[in-house]
C-alpha cells in the first residue's frame, strides 16, 4: 500500500492519519538529488541529521533523525542540557558532502518547534553553512532548489541559498516582499511573488532550458529570467544562507538541490510531502 501511495504522489504518513508509516520524500527521485539537507529524514534508512554544538562546553555530537521522520529531539535535549544547540554541520543526506561552519558565532541555532511542531534551524544575520563543492557539475543545464523558509524580516538581500557563487536566491531581494534572485548572467531580478513575514513558505527556484523561474507555495511567478550560468562541481561558493552581509534571517529546516528537472508527477509528490509535513498552505 505505501508503494502505491508513493507512486501516486499522495501524502502518506503518520501526519495523515496517525498510524501509517512515515514515507521520506526523496526515495522516488534519489538519482536526481544532488543535495539533501534537513532536520527530518529525507531517504529511507538514512538517519543522518546534523552535528550540534552545545553552548555549555561547546562539545559536538551528531543528532540524527528517527524512523518517524522527525529530528531526534530526545538525543538533542540530552546533548545540550541546560544550554542551547547550534548546527556546526548539516549532513547531506545523499551522503556526498557536508555543509558546515566552524565559526561558532555563525552557526544557526537548532529550534525544536520552529515550524509548528517541526524542528528547524534559526538563522541570524551572520549565519551560514558552506561547502566548497556540490560534487557534480550542473553545468548550464536544469536544476531545482527547494527550500522551506520562514523569514522574520523582508529586508532586502536576505539570501536563502547560494549556488556556485553565481546564483543567489532571496526571500525579498529588494526589500519589497517579492522573492528574487541574483543571476550572474541576468543581474538582480525580482519575481512577482509575495513572501510573507513569519510565515513558513515552500520556496522553489529552478532553471529549465536556460530560463530561471520561481514559485512560492506552489504558485509560479508570471515573470522569468534567462540564465546561461555554468554551475560547476566546485570553483565557487555553495552556501545554505548567503555570505557578505546577505544572510537569511528566520527559520529554514530544509534545502534540497535537484540536478536536472523533476517530472510533473515527481514535483507534485514532493510538494505535497513537504506541505503536509510542515503544515504549509501550498497550491
Amino acid at each position: 500500500m505505501p508503494a502505491l501511495g508513493l507512486a501516486l504522489g499522495l501524502p502518506f504518513g503518520r501526519y495523515g492519519g496517525g498510524s501509517a508509516a512515515y514515507v521520506p520524500p526523496l526515495d522516488a527521485v534519489t538519482s536526481k538529488v544532488l543535495l539533501a539537507m534537513s532536520l527530518r529524514r529525507l531517504f529511507t534508512g538514512n538517519a543522518e541529521g546534523i552535528q550540534v554544538r552545545e553552548s555549555g562546553g561547546s562539545t559536538n555530537a551528531d543528532i540524527g533523525t528517527l524512523a518517524t521522520g522527525d529530528f531526534d529531539a530526545t538525543s538533542f535535549t540530552t546533548h545540550i542540557g541546560a544550554g542551547n544547540g547550534f548546527c556546526r554541520t548539516a549532513y547531506d543526506q545523499k551522503g556526498v558532502r557536508y555543509y558546515s561552519n566552524t565559526t561558532a558565532a555563525n552557526q544557526p541555532q537548532v529550534t525544536l518547534n520552529a515550524i509548528g511542531t517541526r524542528a528547524g534551524l534559526t538563522w541570524d544575520s551572520t549565519d551560514t553553512l558552506a561547502a566548497s563543492s556540490i560534487g557534480t557539475a550542473i553545468g548550464t543545464g536544469d536544476f531545482e532548489i527547494w527550500i522551506v523558509a520562514k523569514p522574520t524580516t523582508l529586508a532586502g538581500y536576505k539570501g536563502m541559498f547560494l549556488l556556485g557563487g553565481i546564483i543567489y536566491f532571496y526571500t525579498s531581494r529588494a526589500g519589497n516582499g517579492k522573492a528574487g534572485a541574483y543571476i550572474q548572467s541576468s543581474g538582480d531580478r525580482d519575481f512577482n511573488l509575495a513572501v510573507s513575514i513569519n510565515t513558513a513558505h515552500l520556496m522553489r527556484l529552478y532553471r529549465h532550458s536556460g530560463v530561471i523561474y520561481c514559485d512560492v507555495d506552489g504558485t509560479t511567478a508570471p515573470n522569468s529570467w534567462a540564465s546561461t550560468d555554468n554551475i560547476l562541481a566546485s570553483g565557487g561558493a555553495h552556501q545554505w544562507s548567503c555570505p557578505g552581509g546577505e544572510q537569511f534571517v528566520g527559520v529554514m529546516p530544509e534545502a534540497i538541490l535537484i540536478n536536472g528537472a523533476l517530472t510533473s508527477g515527481e514535483r507534485d509528490a514532493l510538494k505535497s510531502n513537504i506541505a503536509t509535513y510542515y503544515g504549509l498552505n501550498v497550491a
Binding site: S55, G57, S58, T103, A105, N106
Partner: protein, 126 residues
Amino acid sequence: MIAYIKVSSQQVGKDLSYALWSFTRPPQIRSAEEDEDDMFAVVQDAGGQWYLEVDTLLNISVHKLAEIDGIAGILLNAGISQTDVDQLEAQVIALRGQSMRPYDYFPAVFKDAAKTPEEMNWPSHA
C-alpha cells in the same frame, strides 16, 4: 547585535578569532576535527579593509585551562599596553569555570572604531 571591529589583516583576524575560541576550547582539549574552529568570522568590505564580525551578545563558558597567550601578542602589536594585557589575563584567569561575553573584554580602542551592520560597505556580487 553585531559589531565589525577593524583588524589589520585577515590573518590577524583569524588568529584573534582562534585565540578567543580557545578560551572555551583550549587547543589541548580539541579533537582533530575541531582544530580549525574559531569564534567570529573575518570579513572584508568593498574597500579591502578586514573586520572581525563580533556578536556582541555571544556568551561563552571559560574553560579551566583557558589562557590568553594567543591574543597577548596581537593586542600588544595593536598598541595595547602590557599593563592592560596583564589586566586582561588576570580577568580571564579569574573567569575560569564561569562564563563571559567576549565583546565586553575588547579594549576600547577596538570598540571605538567598530562599525554597525548598517555602516558596512559590502562588496557587490554584481
